[in-house]
Structure formats: structure tokens, C-alpha cells
């Protein structure tokens, strides 16, 4: 069957999709977006976390046909999403195409700066989950962070640096807003 969906803001079409195929398989094997990782295929590890109509889900547990007509954001789209949230419409006005890729999102930069990446396999899922948390809860407490990331397994870091990274990203995201608020 054919599946039409919007991925990271771009309309996409996948053909010859098997009816029992997952959204994850479509993203990785048919649309050339291997950022979302395939590990447990049973919703245990969170490595395939994407946003489906804004909501974080395990792409391995979404049947491809269920994504028909829906909006999907993967780790590959996080930088653009952060850019849009920050309200930088200049590039969009110029035809929606940037000469250079958007810089990393605050969450991605914070993972690098905090040393939250070791082997990197779990990182895309954690980034999508953490990014959504900070969008929903701009100043998350540790309990919020732990719960939001409870569906993402990391077998390298022991999580402490990941928690550091999310705190850092939240602080950096809140800072410009706080500064703008104080100036008004």
C-alpha cells in the first residue's frame, strides 16, 4: 500500500508498504531517515521515539498505515523545530529552504556540552523525548525529567550526564525568554 505523511515538515510518500510494517521501518528503510533507531521492536527501549502529531511515541509500535496523513517529527527535524519555535521566519520567507542546515537544537547542543553521549544509540530517542518535555514544561524539575525519560534506556551513561544535559537545555531555553520578559 501507499502511505502519505509529513515528516519534519516535508510531504513524503512511501510505496509498496507492507500492511504490518511499522512507521519506524518506513522512516528508516523507505524514507532514508535512519536517525530513529531500531532496537527492541516492543516499546521497551525508546530508541525509536518520534513525535506523531506532536505526541512522543515509539515508532516501532505505530503501524505505517496509522501514520497516513499525519505529522511526524524525527531527530533529523529537531533543529528545524527548535528554530521554528524560537521564531526565525527569515528562511521560510525565502522559500522554505535554507542554504545551511539549522544549527543544533538546544537539547542537542546540551547533550554534547554535558557529555551525555557515549555510544550514541539511545541518543536520538532521548533527544526527541527531552525536547518535547522542555516544550511542554519549560522549567522541568528532576521528577519531571526522570518521568519523561523513563521510557528511554541507555546502557552506557548511567543517566546522570543525560539528566545534566536536559537541565542545561532547559536553562538555556528559558534564559532568552526570561531576559525578554525582564526587558518588557
Amino acid at each position: 500500500m501507499r502511505v502519505n505523511l509529513t515528516v519534519n515538515g516535508r510531504p513524503q510518500q512511501a510505496d509498496d508498504v507492507w500492511e504490518g510494517e511499522s512507521l519506524l521501518y518506513v522512516l528508516r528503510e523507505r524514507l532514508g531517515l535512519p536517525g530513529s533507531k531500531n532496537a527492541c521492536e516492543q516499546g521497551e527501549c525508546g530508541s525509536c521515539t518520534v513525535r506523531l502529531d506532536d505526541v512522543p511515541v515509539c515508532a516501532c509500535l505505530v503501524a505505517a498505515g496509522q501514520a497516513e496523513g499525519r505529522q511526524v517529527v524525527t531527530v533529523e527535524g529537531l533543529a528545524d523545530l527548535a528554530h521554528e519555535r524560537a521564531g526565525s521566519p527569515a528562511e521560510e520567507a525565502a522559500g522554505g529552504h535554507r542554504a545551511e542546515p539549522a544549527p543544533l537544537s538546544p537539547v542537542q547542543q546540551a547533550f554534547i556540552d554535558a557529555g551525555a553521549v557515549q555510544c550514541g544509540f539511545c541518543t536520538p530517542g532521548l533527544l526527541v523525548a527531552a525536547d518535547e518535555l522542555i516544550e511542554r514544561v519549560p522549567r522541568p524539575g528532576d521528577a519531571d525529567i526522570r518521568e519523561a525519560l523513563s521510557g528511554n534506556l541507555c546502557r552506557c551513561t548511567g543517566y546522570e550526564k543525560i539528566l545534566d544535559a536536559v537541565r542545561l537545555a532547559a536553562a538555556r531555553t528559558a534564559e532568552p525568554a526570561a531576559a525578554a520578559g525582564a526587558g518588557e
Binding site: M1, W18, E19, G20, S22, E41, Q42, G43, E44, G46, T49, V55, P56, V57, C58, C60, L61, V62, A63, G65, Q66, E68, A129, E147, A148, S150, G151, N152
Partner: protein, 298 residues
């Protein structure tokens, strides 16, 4: 395999009547695991994700009619007051990603003895609204679970909603697992005080072939509370009563040894959870809370 995408409930019922082998899929958190692991190759998937009325709930007299495809995340955020036991149980399911997709209707459809919603539904009092092109019937949730991963649905039926009695008193849910997130229950316990009828209902999960109410324990507790006049006095439940209730709850179990725990452990854990959930809810009742949904799981 076919992929059926009805946009109305009538279309969904017609499709299920025409192709009873079609497997309904909403959140996909059970069905897709079986497909990913090649444990299941249904002739068709029946996607219920485009039927708007399945994702709504409404009050209907003394009950909440919960659409079959309302995800756990919304049960937690929208129904904590009306259905505190179910909201607590929903919060123990999987992870945020799973709770964003998984549904109470799916939990009922899968009818796993370890499903987290079942003890909460049994304790609160609930009916499953099953529908087909032949009509709609309500199945008391006690009669819905017929065996390990088996339920009372006919081949052409779909779950439209579950009707859960709105809480009239404190409710609790407790679940044993190796961590707070991403665990299937080793065993679970749900308990609801019903001050309006002066009754307590309680149920076990993952400690018998099906989720079930602990009838003898309920009867003992109802008479013990009545004899001592505790509903009126709101005095402390005597330790001997709590202990006997816990023993009878454990006796209702027929657990198995498996990778998650031994039968003996499950029986012991059920007795501990029975005693704790009784004392937690009774404390709330004594404090005058109409409902309780805040205490974390054991």
C-alpha cells in the same frame, strides 16, 4: 494482509462483521509487538485511530463512559477525580510513549492477566460496551475475562467503550515490578471504598489466569466494617481485620511460577498490597477525602 481504515464506527462494525479475523488496532502497543515478532499474522488490521468518538469520554449518570481508544495519558490527566483507581493504574503502564498510545479498550481486548487496568476496573465496578452490526450489549467486567488472554467478545464484536462507576470514595492501585517504569506487573491489586453502599471492592492482577475480584475477602471486610460501625465512626481499621483481609486476598490467588516471580512471592505480595491499599484508602476516608488519587504505588 489488509489494512482497513474505517472513518466511522458503523464502517468499523461492518468491516469486523465481514472479516471477523481482522484485528483491531488503536495504540498498537500490544498488536504491533506481536506483528514485529512474527507471532501474529492477521488477515487484516482494523485501524480504529480515525474514529473520533472512540477517543472521547462523557459522564452518564453515575458512570463515566470511556471511549475505547482514549489513551492512558488522558485517563491520567482528565479522569483523576472521577476514576482515581483507573488513573493510578494508567500511570503505571509502560512509559510516557506507551501511555500516549495505549488504551483501556486495548487492555481489555488483549485481556492479559497482567493488564494494569483490570484490577482498577473490577474494584470500581465497570461494564464493557461491546458492539457489532447485531447491536450493543454491556458485559459486566467480572464476566469479561474468560481465560489467559481471552475475553467474552464474539468474533464480530468490537469494544466501543467501558462504563466505569464514578468514585464515591477513595480508591487505590498497587503494582509490584522491578522498577517504576516499563514493567509488566509481577502482581497488582486494586481497591475501592464505596461509602454509598458501605462496601469495599478489591481485585488482583497477574496472580491468577484472569484478573478477578477477591470475593471472600470483600465479604469478610464488609461484615467486619459493618459490625464495628466503622463506616459511621471512621475509626481505625483494627490490625486483625486488615490482616485477615490480606490473608483472604492472598488465598484468592492461583498464581504461577514464572520469570517475573514465584507463586509464593506473588501470594505474599498480594497480601501486602491488600493490607496497604486498605489502610491507605481508609486513612483517606477517615480524613474525609471523597476520593484519593495521590499516594504513590507500593
Amino acid at each position: 494482509m489488509d489494512f482497513l481504515r474505517p472513518t466511522t464506527w458503523e464502517e468499523a462494525l461492518a468491516a469486523k462483521a465481514q472479516l471477523p479475523g481482522a484485528v483491531p488496532i488503536a495504540g498498537g502497543t500490544d498488536v504491533m509487538v506481536e506483528i514485529n515478532f512474527a507471532q501474529r499474522r492477521p488477515e487484516a488490521l482494523l485501524d480504529l485511530g480515525r474514529i473520533a468518538e472512540l477517543t472521547t469520554w462523557e459522564r452518564d449518570g453515575e458512570t463515566v463512559r470511556l471511549g475505547a481508544a482514549v489513551p492512558y495519558t488522558r485517563v491520567m490527566s482528565e479522569l483523576r477525580r472521577e476514576l482515581p483507581g483507573l488513573a493510578l493504574a494508567a500511570h503505571t503502564v509502560g512509559s510516557p510513549q506507551i501511555r500516549n498510545r495505549g488504551t483501556v479498550g486495548g487492555n481489555l481486548g488483549a485481556a492479559s492477566p497482567a493488564g494494569d487496568c483490570h484490577p482498577a476496573l473490577l474494584a470500581a465496578g465497570a461494564e464493557v460496551e461491546a458492539a457489532s452490526v447485531r447491536g450493543t450489549r454491556r458485559i459486566p467486567v467480572e464476566e469479561f475475562y474468560t481465560g489467559v488472554k481471552r475475553n467474552a467478545l464474539a468474533p464480530d464484536e468490537l469494544i466501543r467503550a467501558v462504563r466505569v462507576r464514578t468514585a464515591t470514595g477513595p480508591q487505590q492501585f498497587s503494582k509490584v515490578g522491578t522498577r517504576n517504569a516499563m514493567v509488566i506487573a509481577v502482581c497488582a491489586f486494586g481497591l475501592a471504598l464505596h461509602p454509598d453502599t458501605r462496601t469495599v471492592r478489591a481485585a488482583i492482577g497477574s496472580a491468577a489466569p484472569t484478573p478477578l475480584r477477591v470475593g471472600a475477602a470483600e465479604e469478610f471486610l464488609d461484615s467486619a466494617l459493618a459490625e464495628a460501625g466503622l463506616w459511621e465512626s471512621r475509626a481505625v481499621v483494627p490490625p486483625s481485620v486488615a490482616r485477615r483481609f490480606a490473608e483472604l486476598a492472598a488465598a484468592a490467588c492461583s498464581p504461577i511460577d514464572d520469570v517475573r516471580g514465584t507463586a509464593a512471592y506473588r501470594r505474599h505480595a498480594v497480601s501486602v498490597m491488600a493490607r496497604r491499599t486498605l489502610l491507605w484508602t481508609w486513612e483517606s476516608y477517615r480524613g474525609g477525602d471523597r476520593t484519593e488519587g495521590g499516594t504513590p504505588c507500593a
